[in-house]
């Protein structure tokens, strides 16, 4: 197997008295989809937020391509090629589609001076937004429309499109298909597969076992903040996964 794109080693994180993550380690590999499973409150989102630079772990290390990095802010994560679709935490409702896609990565014009004062190149951002979304097969009626006016499916498609457009190497997806209709959820799964085929390392959080088995190569199961099991999906059944998650079966 290839070297891991991202390695998490012995991460712990607590919020006051609650131990959200306790000594968790996992690897994700280029060209593979790793599912992160667990019941509500198992620590999945906390782990993703630690990797994405939203939270700081209390102990443990995160390395990208074998080098340990301190991911102090979301900016650091992005600069390392880690893109994240957080659950309910991705788009700005009052900004339009292109502005969301380019949030904190705005294209500027006017040369060095324009870049320094942040003079927006709106036309270029609209054009690039259009071609990026088209490439991903995402159809949005108007890129100038505030995303708050779009449907849940369209919003999620944009959030994922943003991660995909920028995340050339590592993409973390926290419940990307929650609240989506069947067809749109399928779209999202297709996107994940094409990411995998392009050699991106994907970490996928979802509650839907059918989706897990359909797109993932391996799975890490968290239970009450600890790693309960790590399995290759071709070696376990769906029932096994559920048993790991509920604790009926130990890894």
């Amino acid at each position: 197997m290839t070297a891991p794109a991202l390695s998490v080693r012995n991460i712990s994180k607590s919020f006051r008295a609650v131990q959200a993550l306790d000594d968790v380690s996992l690897d994700i590999h280029p060209g593979r989809v790793t599912a992160l499973l667990g019941d509500n409150g198992a620590g999945k989102s906390t782990l993703v937020k630690c990797i994405a630079g939203v939270y700081q772990p209390d102990s443990g290390t995160i390395s990208v391509d074998g080098t340990v990095h301190r991911i102090a802010t979301p900016d650091v994560a992005r600069s390392l090629g880690v893109e994240t679709v957080h659950q309910n935490l991705s788009l700005i409702d009052t900004l339009n589609v292109a502005e969301n896609l380019f949030l904190n990565r705005e294209r500027t014009r006017g040369g060095g001076f324009g870049a320094r004062i942040g003079l927006l190149n709106k036309r270029r951002m609209l054009r690039e937004c259009e071609s990026t979304l088209a490439k991903l097969g995402i159809v949005i009626p108007s890129l100038r429309r505030p995303v708050g006016l779009l449907s849940g499916g369209q919003r999620q498609a944009i959030a994922i499109g943003r991660a995909v457009a920028w995340g050339q190497r590592i993409v973390l997806l926290d419940e990307p298909a929650a609240a989506l209709g069947v067809e749109q959820a399928q779209r999202v799964m297709d996107l994940i597969l094409s990411l995998r085929d392009a050699g991106v390392a994907v970490l996928l959080i979802t509650h839907n076992m059918d989706r897990v088995t359909a797109v993932s190569d391996n799975a890490v199961i968290l239970r009450q903040g600890r790693k309960a099991a790590e399995v290759e999906l071709d070696q376990v059944s769906k029932d096994d996964l559920v048993a790991f998650i509920t604790g009926a079966k130990a890894g």
Binding site: T84, L91, D93, L95, L103, N104, G118, L119, R144, G148
Partner: protein, 337 residues
């Protein structure tokens, strides 16, 4: 060929219309409709009182100028989901600082010092709000009192005269051709504000921070710095409004701007800026300020008693705000598939 271009242009216009009308619908334009209708009503009933005379219109423009400048600044504070209650006392402090400094160092240093004092008020407001995590509503309520007290102590409640013709001409009393310098400064404030909100990265980041701070943070924005900068813009604009009042009246005084806070907030909100962050209109804020000045002027010309003016203005403001504000739930696509 020409037809093709025409068809393209129409379809683009149509799309823009759809985007806009779905984004708040007519509410977006309420402030302009209100402006036109109030202007029309006053023009009709006050025809004989010379409401539409050049000198009266100029009067309205002059009255609106400091409010408009403050409103442009306040729009940024509100856009970032903060609020700045200290602008009124900042106006007073700025006018006094200008008066003191102009006497010794001339008009330029005087104006600059006043504006810098305003910027530092905003810096303190912002740092306390962000670092100690006190809502800016409470922080600026505190600094409102503190600055007001300092202003009162500066010259023992006396007016401080400004005897500098350049200062007065530049910041209020003078004019360029038929246009008062106050009107020109208002236009400058509008242009700078509009440009910063729509064409600078910073403007988009202010809106993003105000709309959803957690998401903005997750996108890597330094929301602390953005919130501080928005409060600094508000207080700097207020200080500049203080300079304009000092220029027009040729004094610095502890109570200048004291009663302007609510007028400014009303102007900004009527103009389509959300009180809860994430949505702002600079053109709306300036138009809102014009409406406020027009109401003031028209109700006085109508011969209403001060008490009745207050009542009438209050009613009109409530109606205008009700028409221009949108319920938050309306904006989100509820029809999630």
């Amino acid at each position: 060929m020409r037809l093709h271009v025409l068809a393209k242009a129409t379809s683009r216009l149509r799309q823009a219309w759809i985007d806009r009308s779905e984004d708040g619908g007519y509410r977006r334009y309420v402030v302009y409709m209100a402006f036109v209708s109030i202007l029309a009503v006053f023009a009709l009933i006050l025809w004989d009182d010379g409401f539409l005379s050049w000198s009266n219109l100029l009067n309205i423009g002059r009255q609106a100028a400091p409010i408009a400048v403050m409103a442009v600044g306040m729009a940024f504070a509100l856009a970032s989901a903060e609020i700045d209650l200290s602008i009124g006392s900042t106006v007073a402090l700025s006018s006094l600082v200008a008066a003191v400094m102009v006497a010794d160092y001339g008009f330029f240093v005087g104006a600059l010092a006043a504006v810098l004092v305003g910027a530092s008020v905003g810096l303190v407001n912002g740092l306390v709000a962000v670092k100690i995590r006190i809502p800016s509503f409470l922080v600026t309520l505190g600094t409102l009192g503190i600055i007001s007290g300092i202003a009162r102590n500066m010259n023992n409640l006396q007016s401080m005269p400004i005897r500098n013709d350049t200062f007065s001409a530049l910041f209020g009393a003078g004019s360029l051709g038929p246009i008062s310098s106050l009107v020109i400064w208002t236009a400058v404030a509008f242009a700078v504000g509009h440009f910063a909100l729509h064409h600078l990265r910073w403007g988009r980041h202010v809106l993003a921070t105000g709309a959803n701070r957690a998401s903005a943070k997750a996108a890597g924005l330094n929301t602390d710095r953005i919130r501080i900068s928005a409060l600094m813009v508000s207080s700097t604009a207020a200080a500049f409004a203080g300079v304009l009042l000092a220029g027009r009246l040729a004094i610095g005084r502890h109570d200048l701007g004291e009663n302007d806070l609510l007028t400014v907030i009303a102007a900004v909100v009527i103009g389509g800026t959300s009180l809860f962050g994430g949505r702002a209109s600079i053109a709306g804020a300036v138009t809102g300020a014009l409406i406020m000045a027009m109401l003031n002027n028209g109700l006085i010309l109508m011969g209403l008693e001060v008490a009745d003016q207050l009542i009438a203005r209050g009613f009109i403001i409530i109606v205008a705000v009700a028409l221009s504000m949108r319920a938050p739930s309306e904006s989100v696509g509820d029809d999630v598939p």
